[in-house]
């Protein structure tokens, strides 16, 4: 068995891929495929990159059909579903609010009008075609990292499982704390409070599942844009010092549900059980 670990700066954080399987060549191919997937998703879903599918969609006027990559459509579909189920607690059309708070640069297009709080996501998706129902700027910062982890795990699985006798192959993809594991041996993951550089608040076991954490900036002395999360229902930013970690079958679900927990301050929100997820750590008071 060969164990290989590599890390690259992607998705605005450090992404580490670790693969243990029979043969170093196979492990290397699996890691390359995983990073390839993540780089592709970054290209498609970046708010900052004017060439991304997401930026094309953000520039498009309401009512115009925009063809996007099937992966973008898949993320937007789940985001819309979760916006509905969480009654707007999760909302990826937060772009204009984040631009107003100077956390994101303004796209080169009409600034969305303030829309009344509602539980729709501002767009509808059919196949790979997206139509915005009203001017809005979509930001996938709260979900795309998790999705990228899922796709990377899938890429690894396809490569190592194609080889006979790979039943004991293991892999972990960790995108700055949003991670997913597959393989027969569970791993221990430490959960760390946002303000802390070192103490661990909890330790969880992860077995063929995903864990994601989100936190708002711990407060004093941190840049105002790190860990900026907003409640789109009211258009306000969340208080400092909040943190939530969610375990779920997929990292996209875990990543998105951390926002539901933080915005509603409810670690038992019904969206979690609906998606076979649970909150393993939450902190609602700045410390």
């Amino acid at each position: 068995m060969s164990l290989l670990r590599r890390a690259k700066p992607l998705l605005g954080t450090l992404v580490e891929v670790s693969v243990e399987c029979e043969g170093e060549g196979l492990a290397r191919a699996a890691i390359d495929a995983a990073f390839g997937q993540i780089a592709t998703i970054q290209r498609l879903m970046s708010f900052h990159d004017p060439e991304s599918d997401l930026s094309r969609l953000n520039r498009a006027p309401a009512g115009v059909a925009v063809m996007v990559d099937p992966m973008v459509a898949e993320v937007l579909r789940f985001a819309a579903r979760l916006a509905r189920e969480s009654e707007g607690a999760f909302d990826c059309s937060v772009g204009s609010t984040l631009v107003a708070l100077e956390a994101l640069p303004a796209p080169n297009s009409d600034r969305p009008v303030d829309r009344p709080a509602e539980t729709t996501s501002g767009y509808c998706v059919k196949g790979s075609v997206v139509v915005k129902s009203q001017p809005c700027w979509i930001d996938l910062g709260g979900i795309a990292k998790g999705y990228a982890v899922d796709r990377a795990i899938e890429a690894i699985r396809q490569i190592v499982m194609a080889k006979r006798g790979s039943d004991d192959a293991q892999a972990v993809v960790n995108a700055g704390g949003d991670l997913r594991h597959f393989g027969p041996k569970p791993i221990a993951v430490g959960i760390r409070a946002p303000a802390a550089s070192a103490p661990l608040t909890a330790k969880v076991k992860l077995a063929n599942a995903a864990l994601a954490s989100s936190a708002t900036a711990p407060g004093e002395g941190f840049s105002s844009h790190a860990g900026l999360l907003v409640d789109e229902r009211s258009g306000t930013r969340l208080a400092a010092g909040l943190a939530a970690s969610v375990m779920a079958p997929t990292c996209m679900v875990a990543d998105a549900l951390t926002k539901v927990v933080l915005v509603t301050r409810n670690p038992d929100h019904r969206c979690l059980s609906r998606h076979d997820a649970r909150c393993v750590h939450a902190q609602f008071d700045a410390r």
Binding site: P9, A193, S197, P199, A209, G227, D276, R287
Partner: protein, 192 residues
């Protein structure tokens, strides 16, 4: 249905800054070595037959200003390691420059591969170290240890290979890569 193992929760949630509490959770620091510089070079330029190391980088004032770019600040080239990737016939295949950046609590060693025209081809992290007694010293970091005693030792927990918490931002790394790219463009390209 996924199967979740039982989670192990501590008997009490530990606040971020423990003052004067004995037997607090150990301070866990996290460190990983991914690749040596030689391994990264080989990975980025598998066809190269040799990597010619350059002398330590010394920049003129004008070059340093260019390399610093819009963010300004001083450019510390003392830890840069620059190598030219060459084919067996001596052709230049590109460059690999290694550097280190210091984040809030961590030291990241990384290497960037450049094409002969200076375009960034690839980035690999060589090692990642959280502060545990030497490299990085900030007031914020030291504050973590206020009141800590030998009862909360600093150690690397071998059981834990992954940490989940606030997402690590890699702004420093992005800035560092930008500086290296401007250096390669300004100094190396067209000089081979």
């Amino acid at each position: 249905m996924p199967h979740f193992s039982d989670r192990l929760l501590p008997t009490a949630l530990i606040p971020a800054i423990v003052v004067g509490v004995a037997a607090a959770a150990p301070i866990v620091v996290y460190a990983t070595d991914y690749l040596t510089l030689a391994q990264a070079q080989k990975l980025m330029f598998p066809d190269a037959s040799q990597f010619a190391s350059q002398a330590p980088v010394l920049l003129t004032q004008a070059q340093a200003t260019r390399v610093a770019g819009a963010t300004g600040g001083s450019v510390n080239t003392s830890q840069w390691r620059v190598a030219t990737a060459q084919a067996s016939d001596g052709r230049v295949l590109g460059y690999v420059v290694a550097d280190a950046v210091i984040g809030k609590f961590q030291l990241i060693n990384y290497a960037v591969a450049f094409a002969p025209d200076g375009a960034i081809r690839d980035v690999e992290i060589l090692s990642y170290r959280e502060e545990h007694g030497g490299e990085v010293r900030t007031a914020a970091w030291r504050k973590q240890f206020a009141g800590k005693t030998g009862a909360s030792p600093i150690r690397i927990d071998d059981d834990i290979r992954n940490i989940s918490g606030a997402t690590l931002s890699c702004t420093h790394l992005t800035d560092g890569i930008g500086r290296l790219a401007r250096y390669v463009q300004a100094v190396l390209v067209g000089k081979s």
